[in-house]
Symmetry: C2
Subunit: 513 residues, 2 copies
């Protein structure tokens, strides 16, 4: 039996159907790797998949031979042994996404990952035709992460019953929280696999408040919550492209306390032997994201950024990373759309402006869209088709970030420079938001004394963030002077920008091109 690195090995076993195997049967497996340099044993939970079928899933992270042995309170599931050979990956699977340099992300194989995700909370709960359309849309756009919920969503613009439920019982609210519904989870897994094949990370929302007594999945009680988390981890943690989003708008879930959340976070972090990325998403109260088991901050923040109101500035984004000392993804900042709620009626320009601010603050952001329509299929809730204008500009920005070939765009100074990121001496990206820039003084931050040799040449691109144009200036900028805070060019002191708005500058050391 061979399995590729970071793919799923699945051991299928047969056992009892009687009683309630979801709670009565215990099943774990030890996977052991041993060679001259390494020797490790990992223990994973198996799970009951219905119809007398039991499964154990395992994702090997190292090529070579792994042996396994099961343990169970059922004789027919106990002491099953075997071995798998983990071989090199020939698929487009770079492994799990992990934190890189505190504030950024990379795959396990070292490939840099810049999160540019979108949001379709309940797309897996829609009819098949809409699901297919969602997948098509994702294929044609290029987002590499999606926020989606396990549980169905009962909310404005989204209150149909889903085709399947995670529990056995009777809709809407007669559930046996001790009996999962395997077909539901099988379908979920197929979605995760499909998305994985498309290079999309699944930021899986484990709890959310959009239930409010309709199904009761937001208030199952602590015992059921933990059983659910255990089942989720047993089934899904072997999929490389899963992230745990403990909750959406955690503070709107009135049945759970901060202590509960801490318990659940610690539980998931402990149970998940692979240590997938783990976050929790706020509504009105920022979570205490310095919790040691939280890998990155998943922030919601709604602001008016450019409606003639007071500007939010770059500092707001930057503060999160610098206060939490964590990677930050602004997973909700309001949606491009036409809903009456203020969070659902942002203009595409506002959204694109926010994105550039986030990237030029050393953080990341997620997309969503809330254009209403006659069929009530809104991307943010159900998927389907994108109708807006922001997503193209966001993916234009994604391409720019990818082309930086950096391990993450880092702020270039303390809080004195809030609108520029890059790598000292090599690559700079500055953004000016809605400030009409006549000209920009060519000055490269010198804080902490990065070395830029006199005579170093830089090439400057003027980026129109809305019209998606990149214009390379014919003039090279040569560093020929420096002071306490900046490297500058006496020969070519300015970059003329003619009062344009929403302009960015990309400045790259010539010899790197």
């Amino acid at each position: 039996m061979t399995v590729q690195k970071w793919e799923v090995f699945e051991l299928l076993l047969h056992g009892i159907k009687e009683g309630n195997p979801f709670v009565s049967v215990e099943l774990t497996a030890q996977f052991t790797y041993q060679d001259s340099e390494d020797n490790k044993t990992l223990c994973v939970d198996g799970f009951y998949d219905g119809d007398g079928i039991y499964k154990v899933r395992f994702m090997p992270d190292k090529t070579g031979v792994w042996t396994y042995c099961t343990h169970s309170n059922q004789k027919e599931l106990d002491n099953i042994t075997g071995q798998i050979e983990c071989i090199d990956n020939d698929l487009n699977n770079h492994g799990m996404v992990r934190i890189k340099n505190t504030y950024h992300f990379c795959y396990e194989d070292g490939t840099i990952y810049y999160p540019f995700g979108t949001t379709c909370y309940a797309w897996i709960h829609q009819p098949t035709a809409i699901q297919k359309q969602t997948i098509e849309t994702l294929k044609n756009t290029g987002f590499n992460k999606i926020r989606m919920c396990v549980f169905p969503k009962f909310y404005a613009n989204n209150n149909e019953e889903p085709p399947m439920y995670p529990y056995q019982g009777q809709a809407p609210n007669q559930w046996d929280f001790k009996r999962f519904n395997p077909p539901f989870f099988q379908a979920l897994e197929n979605h995760i696999i499909q998305l994985g094949n498309m290079g999309i990370e699944v930021d899986l929302i484990l709890f959310h408040p959009y239930d409010k007594g309709h199904w009761g999945f937001d208030s199952m009680g602590k015992e059921a919550d933990l059983r659910y988390l255990s089942y989720i981890i047993a089934r899904l943690s072997a999929f490389h492209n899963v992230w745990w989003s403990m909750a959406n708008e955690y503070d709107y879930i009135k049945s759970k306390t901060l202590e509960d959340w801490n318990t659940y976070i610690e539980y998931v972090s402990k149970k998940d032997i692979y240590k997938h990325l783990l976050s929790i998403h706020n509504a009105e109260r920022f979570f205490d994201n310095w919790h040691p088991n939280i890998t990155h901050a998943s922030i919601q923040i709604g602001t008016n950024s450019s409606k003639g109101e007071v500007s939010t500035g770059f500092g707001m984004y930057r503060m999160h990373r610098d206060i939490y000392h964590r990677a930050v993804i602004f997973d909700e900042v309001g949606y491009e759309g036409d809903l009456m709620q203020r969070w659902g009626c942002m203009s595409a320009k506002e959204i694109v402006d926010k994105y550039w601010k986030a990237i030029c603050s050393g953080t990341y952001m997620s997309h969503g869209e809330t254009y209403s329509s006659d069929d009530d299929i809104i991307w943010w809730a159900k998927g389907g088709q994108l109708k807006g204008e922001a997503w193209k500009r966001i993916l234009f920005l994604k391409k720019i970030v990818e082309e930086s070939h950096t391990e993450g765009l880092e702020p270039l100074d303390l809080w004195w420079i809030l609108n520029g990121v890059g790598v000292h001496g090599q690559y700079y990206l500055f953004y000016f938001s809605d400030i009409p820039m006549n000209r920009w003084t060519f000055k490269l931050p010198a804080f902490k004394k990065p070395v830029i040799d006199m005579g170093t040449k830089f090439v400057v691109d003027i980026i129109d963030t809305w019209n998606m144009t990149i214009k390379r200036l014919p003039v090279e900028y040569v560093v020929d002077t420096s002071d306490r805070y900046y490297y500058q060019s006496k020969a070519t002191p300015f970059i003329e920008l003619k009062g344009r708005k929403n302009i960015a500058l990309r400045i790259v050391k010539k010899e790197l091109l």
Copy 2:
């Protein structure tokens, strides 16, 4: 023996002079209060004050009889008993400043305290004439807090030797860290008392990095650090107007680790029976201000706010309180002055703008000034005289905040409104920074559905934050309509502002005037 509530009772005892009493003599005292409703015993440390004199200080917080009993490893200091009668306060002493409603401050007697402080790091280490001048300046301005260091400061514009040192030994760096220098601490105490009589809280900086091997007070080692903290607490914690600022620019003190700081914070918090306010001030790395013993965040952040660069916005200030869930004082934001360092050459207008942004974000700020002069006496380091223009505007703002008669100006919405604070339905303060406002739509936030009855009248003042004028509009604004997010006035929908900058609006319910 009577002592007024929140004043200092001092028990003076005589004992040995031989050896090193600073380390050999143990002395504590129990103070017990008992009446029909309450029964408590507090234990404080005594200290050696030189010349065979030992002191125990105690600040009673309750009127009535307190009995005391000392304990010591020295017979002549042991089992000394007595009683004091704590009587009502007839001085202008409101007790210690404590946290109020998470984000604000009040005195122990319930009087609201809005911190408007200034900074003179090393004023107590200057010659007497300059000290007197500093006190005169403070009397004539109205700041109610001062940041100042225990240890002298060795830094640009401040590298003279001080008149006294906290340790016995030989300047500059031959110190016996086991022998304190009582006259130094007696002088410090006199300054604290003097400031207390002026209504000024002392934000006492216990460690700082401006030493760099000159005296060695920044790198005494853990044992000496803890002995120092213990001595400080024994001597000073009975003074009501002391706050503990664990460090200035803690992350520039290379000899101490994050673990050390956590140890010191816990040590001080545990030793200080009164629980004075406790914070730690950052340079480049924000401290983990969610530490349970930290009472409020003391933040340094340097930004360009209005130099034609990108605006920092209000969000930057607001994020700190909303992320830490703590009261926040921006104790350093750059200084009004003319130094060549960017933090020391802010214009008064910039500083005033920052202050208004902080207040209108539900946070607080501190003042400082760095105008150079021939005699090298710069306010921020040495005290003396103020030369700038910001301080008057800051105290104008202080008066406005005091006149709000609120328990603290709170943000009025989630992050959708970042420039307004107040109390729903009663009092509003909006600030527009450097945005030229033609007119402002009269709209009072309705988030979380505060009740404002239709027909409620509001009086509007237009505040010119720089020219310090307040103009009351003759028109009353009557709330006559509301929607999901705002209360508005169809009859008088706008406030005309004629494109002016740095304007604030004060909107008060008429019947409260």
